[in-house]
Symmetry: C2
Subunit: 182 residues, 2 copies
Amino acid sequence: MNLTEKQIKAEYIYKGKIINLRRDEALLPDGNTAVREVIEHLGGVCVVALTQENEIMLVKQFRYPYSEETLEIPAGKRDRKDEDPLECGKRELREETGATAQNYTFLGTLYPSPGYCGEIIWMYCATGLDFGELCPDDDEFLLVEKRPLDEVVSMILSGEITDAKTQAAVLKVKILKDGGKL
Amino acid sequence: MNLTEKQIKAEYIYKGKIINLRRDEALLPDGNTAVREVIEHLGGVCVVALTQENEIMLVKQFRYPYSEETLEIPAGKRDRKDEDPLECGKRELREETGATAQNYTFLGTLYPSPGYCGEIIWMYCATGLDFGELCPDDDEFLLVEKRPLDEVVSMILSGEITDAKTQAAVLKVKILKDGGKL
């Protein structure tokens, strides 16, 4: 069965700071058409920064869309569409936690909400950490914490940590580590 | 440290079929203001449907924002803001795979991209499956597959499965099952 949908028409509703919004018309496999709303985003990177004591770095920040504080692994969006994800990850880790890392292991990509959003998040595990000074973005307010990996896994399993990239990347690291593959 | 951001101004840029887009002005903890772009969404539900043989149901579909086919667990959005997530999950599982389930275990919520998106995804594990007929939405084209849980975990670890909710929910089920908690 051919599942492909083809773009017939594209219209920009909004071009913004973090996201653009397009409203397309798509040709469906059965010959009908449908509206497809699409969020465009430069893509981002997240990093599970793992210390020698099996602790990971977490960032507490206020997430405006939910009016809530969340605990997440360090992350940020790319500066431009062709920025190397690994370079972006190194910058975000340094900016948010002050850390640099000797080793980065790629953990795959994450599609946050593929029905309407084109954002890609590249996930890494960073080890061999060295801590320097914090330098967050001007309009970014955050608190950095270090917690044992197994405690973070428990907080994910219990539902306390809600962020998608944190859940996926940390659980991957847990399973890879337990299997001796990291 | 107080991290709270307060809404000063809200403006709807777009009210659509799946999403709305707001462009707000927010008061930051330091007294400055910043633009906050917010996607509004009714929220959705995803279901890890686990057979007695430790297989799970996957849905292959074309995801327009990426122009790609993806493999995901059954999922869908709520019909209205106050729809009970569990009822929504039961409906989506039945529509997409034809299955009904005797038991549902709540796995927590997922925030897909909390920087700009307010969507909440409720995650469930369904067991005691009974298979009936498929009845997907009119403009939804999909192929249903059944795969061993451990194979799906491997596809997540290798980066082959990219969908956030599938990665988070399946890895949770894997760890809970291995720990005898599911």
